[in-house]
Amino acid sequence: SQQGEEDPQALSIQEGENATMNCSYKTSINNLQWYRQNSGRGLVHLILIRSNEREKHSGRLRVTLDTSKKSSSLLITASRAADTASYFCATYSGTYKYIFGTGTRLKVLA
């Protein structure tokens, strides 16, 4: 099974609301990254958080990392219709391999 498992699998919210998605993983990591994918096309890198960091911000994005619980969360504040996409977490454990989660499909209703 995938190292990264996102939760929930799908999320539908109204524009202006906050969206929170979670990622759990199984082994120790060097870093964890979040990506967005629109309509089955290429992924866009959103944010990278290293194992010794607990929280990072980028614009309307806030990522937290809890290495003791082997989990991360991505918060998108004041969501917009343009945020509608699939969101993936990816972990790197120092083995020349990224492991992507199964993704959360976010739908923001205007």
Binding site: N30, Y35, G42, H45, L48, T95, Y96, K97, F100, G101
Partner: protein, 117 residues
């Protein structure tokens, strides 16, 4: 700055044929990654190339192979195509391993959609 490019955009093959997919990384990036994304699913790691060397491969049969050229572009070959090989194949590039061996973020191309009939 040009992004990661992939060709072709779409590829239709019949079972048993061979498919060749190409990827050009961002200028200055020496690492190239290949992923398979079946419809509605997450990304499955296929291959990681860096400086012309294969660093790792995912849990795929040997009929999935590739190479990285001196200019850091890369090619993915899939032999003896099977119906379940139908998927979006994504290529990504990055700078090579940074300090402490932790890699940089990956930049993805738009993908090649392979359909096997």
């Amino acid at each position: 700055e040009a992004g990661v490019t992939q060709s072709p955009t779409h590829l239709i093959k019949t079972r048993g044929q061979q498919a060749t997919l190409r990827c050009s990384p961002i200028s200055g990036h020496t690492s190239v990654y290949w992923y398979q994304q079946a419809l509605g699913l997450g990304l499955q790691f296929l291959l990681w190339y860096d400086e012309g060397e294969e660093r790792n491969r995912g849990n795929f049969p040997p009929r999935f192979s590739g190479r990285q050229f001196p200019n850091y572009s890369s090619e993915l070959n899939v032999n003896a195509l099977e119906l379940e090989d139908s998927a979006l194949y994504l290529c990504a590039s990055s700078l090579n391993l940074g300090l402490a061996g932790a890699p940089y973020e990956q930049y993805f191309g738009p993908g090649t959609r392979l359909t096997v009939t």
